[in-house]
């Protein structure tokens, strides 16, 4: 199965986001590299607003991800509640 | 179609020989001798005798290769247009049919000091 990934800057803002992604995607593998964190998942990865808010302790607009996003891979689908990356095979 | 365009489109070749003030470009390279990272470019009058190119500018450029000292031009195999070619050192570039931007290659089978493993 093809890998999808999302890479975020390693900073204070992204720590709870990365935790939330790990909670929602038990199959994801988190790679910590200098100044960045790359999260790989087989086939599909979901980022959920509610889980981020629970980790962050405040309201969160998923589009805020744009600020700390480094790169991603896979077809993107986004609405208010989720950002999904997937490959069709 | 020579280019995808709205209407007919004709380009102008930039490196035509008339832009070189009576000289021409010749490319030379020594097969399996990659100390020289790319084929060498010389700009010379077409009337230059081929032997003079070998003894003069080419010999100066090749000096850095450990095989250069033992290079015997009488034993070298030549290619032009990637085909076997027998140049006459007493004739000029033009006399040997070596045109503008032609690539000449030469081979020295058995001499490959910097390619010990090959």
């Amino acid at each position: 199965m093809s890998t999808v990934f999302i890479a975020l800057q390693a900073n204070e803002e992204t720590r709870p986001i990365i935790d939330a992604i790990e909670i929602d995607n038990p199959q994801a593998v988190v790679n910590r590299q200098p100044a960045m964190v790359k999260i790989d998942a087989p086939g599909r990865l979901v980022v959920r607003r509610e889980t981020i808010e629970a980790q962050l302790g405040r309201a969160y607009d998923l589009q805020e991800l744009q600020i700390n996003l480094i790169t991603l891979s896979g077809n993107v689908d986004e609405d208010e509640d989720t950002l999904t990356l997937s490959w069709n095979e | 179609m020579a280019v995808t365009s709205l209407k007919e489109y004709i380009g102008v070749a930039r490196d035509r020989v008339e832009n070189y003030g009576g000289k021409q470009i010749v490319y030379l390279s020594w097969d399996h001798h990659l100390l020289f990272a790319a084929p060498l470019m010389l700009c010379l009058p077409p009337a230059t005798p081929f032997g003079e190119v070998l003894r003069g500018p080419l010999a100066a450029l090749l000096q850095a290769d450990p095989d250069a000292a033992a290079l015997d031009w009488n034993e070298v195999e030549w290619l032009k247009d990637n085909q076997p070619f027998v140049p006459d050192p007493s004739l000029s570039l033009a006399g040997n049919g070596i045109g503008h931007k032609d690539q000449l290659r030469f081979r020295t089978p058995g001499r490959n000091t910097l390619l010990a493993a090959a």
């Binding site: 093809s2 100044a35 | 990272a37 470019m41 390619l115």
Partner: protein, 505 residues
């Protein structure tokens, strides 16, 4: 009937529809053809522009908000860098060669991309596409500006930064990147989108920005990490635009498939060549290395590119034609480039050097099948020449490829001991190439590439072969900007200033 309570907030999809689709209107007194004259001649058929949608659904108001936030973060760090001797926190000043290449060749590419997206944002009829292209045009000019601004801090202390604009226009190696963007910009809007939006951004840009910027962090270059990641945060949107546009073209009409495939073949190869120098930056120019070019290729080329083309297979797309040749070149290209850069360093506005014994041990571990066999013997000989007081300088200028404009440093597929020779004759003129990929591109559109301004031949046609006059013309200061790092002013200054910064003498 009760008044319906107004919805407090529009949903993302609704907001996106209002702020994009509602910007489009049917023209009254001009035909669509007159307004969008470039949208048909490439042969791409589009039946319904509304089918194209930005999956991030980013609207202009949100765009400005987030971009402003990125700029604030960027300048906070740039200020900190300038205030805290950031120029001395590098692992080693050799690292700066990578930055000089970036500034001379890549930042101007960002500006070219800006011009291109501004143009195609006007040329595409679809409103969603127009908005996304407009955002990308603004992003790209921001990237050019923030990169130049960040690197200007180094210009106060080191050589090779002072005349990047002259280098961009005139020095030989920058013509590679320049011709790449000129090629894309002189194509139609759809080809431009495949060239930059898809092949460059989606397939290749990760190789440039991600491991390289991570490498900048590793080497203590806070300024570059910052502009790199600030630019890269836009890149996810650009990549998504590129991928969505290609899917859109393929879904609109089956006749589009062969045209799109031809562009993927062409632009993968052109992109692979233009980004080739990144291999050298990663394997040789970072004093402290995060991963090898080979390792980066495994992640971002093989794994990610493989996933992408498996996904697009449902439309009939196959991997680019040059993919296998590229795969073969991965274990060779960084060495081939660095050997070239070293022997031509009299003509570069950055330094190169002979790798140390430690560097060579690392290279041989990372390239077990190629480095010791093919490249170590050449470095060893070059080292010997230097020790003997006759450092190797190759004054035989290089044959350049008529298409990618790189020196023909590449070897024959299947034989790493032999230079790849390819040539063709068009209208009585002979043209030389570095590879089958570049020759194929030329032969498809020869009228375009016969016009190439090749810097090496131009040294003879325009300056009569006078290298000193050429150096003046490109603003290269002989003995300062160029040559071996060992013994350079950059090396001397860095060691001296770092000593001052860490002691009280």
């Amino acid at each position: 009937m009760d008044m319906k309570a107004t919805k407090k907030k529009l949903g993302m999809k609704e907001r996106y529809r209002i702020l994009t689709r509602d910007l489009g209107w049917e023209p009254g007194y001009q035909s669509k053809k007159a307004i969008f004259p470039y949208v048909e001649y490439e042969g791409i058929k589009v039946h319904d522009w509304d089918k194209w949608e930005d999956p991030f659904r980013l609207t202009m108001d949100a765009y400005w908000k987030y971009q402003a936030e990125k700029e604030r973060k960027f300048y906070a760090i740039i200020d900190a860098h300038a205030q805290n001797n950031g120029h001395l926190n590098l692992t080693d000043a050799r690292y700066l060669s990578a930055l000089k290449i970036f500034l001379q060749a890549i930042s101007p590419g960002e500006y070219a991309a800006h011009k291109g997206f501004a143009r195609i944002g006007r040329e595409f009829p679809g409103v969603g596409t127009q908005v996304a292209c407009q955002m990308q045009a603004i992003d790209e000019i921001r990237h050019a500006q923030t990169q130049i601004h960040a690197m200007s801090n180094y210009n106060r202390y080191y050589d090779g930064f002072h005349a990047f604009a002259d280098a961009r226009d005139r020095i030989w190696y920058t013509s590679v990147a320049r011709s790449f963007f000129d090629d894309a910009m002189s194509a139609g809007p759809f080809e431009f989108m495949i060239a930059i939006g898809f092949s460059f951004e989606y397939v290749l840009t990760n190789l440039l920005f991600v491991p390289f910027m991570s490498g900048a962090a590793y080497n203590g270059d806070m300024a570059t990490v910052t502009f790199g990641f600030s630019a890269q945060s836009d890149e996810a949107r650009h990549m998504t635009l590129g991928l969505e546009c290609i899917k859109f073209m393929l879904e609109q009409d089956p006749d589009n498939l062969p045209i799109v495939q031809g562009w993927i073949d062409k632009w993968f190869w052109r992109g692979f060549r233009v980004l080739g120098l990144v291999s050298t930056m990663m394997d040789y120019m970072l004093p402290k290395r995060v991963m090898s070019w080979r390792e980066a290729w495994e992640i971002y080329g093989v794994e990610n590119g493989g996933a992408l083309f498996r996904d697009l297979a449902r439309y009939g797309i196959r991997p680019p034609k040059g993919w296998d040749d590229a795969e073969q070149a991965i274990d060779h290209m960084s060495h081939q480039f660095m050997l070239g850069l070293y022997q031509w360093s009299f003509g570069t506005a950055f330094h190169s050097w002979i790798p140390s014994d430690d560097d060579m041990a690392w290279l041989s571990a990372k390239y077990p099948d190629t480095f010791d066999r093919y490249y170590r013997p050449r470095w060893a000989h070059i080292k010997k020449l230097k020790a003997a007081g006759t450092p190797f300088k190759n004054y035989g200028l290089a044959r350049l490829c008529q298409c990618c404009q790189l020196p023909c440093v590449f070897t024959e597929p299947g034989d790493p001991t032999l230079t790849c020779h390819r040539e063709t004759v068009y209208k009585g003129e002979k043209y030389q190439f570095c590879s089958d990929g570049c020759k194929d591109i030329f032969e498809h559109e020869p009228e375009k590439y016969i016009q190439a301004w090749l810097p090496m031949p131009a040294l003879f046609s325009e300056l009569g072969g006078d290298v000193a006059a050429w150096m003046d013309w490109v603003s290269l200061r002989d003995g300062a900007d160029n040559g071996d790092y060992d013994g350079s002013r950059d090396q001397r200054h860095f060691d001296e200033w770092r000593g001052l910064a860490t002691s009280n003498l």
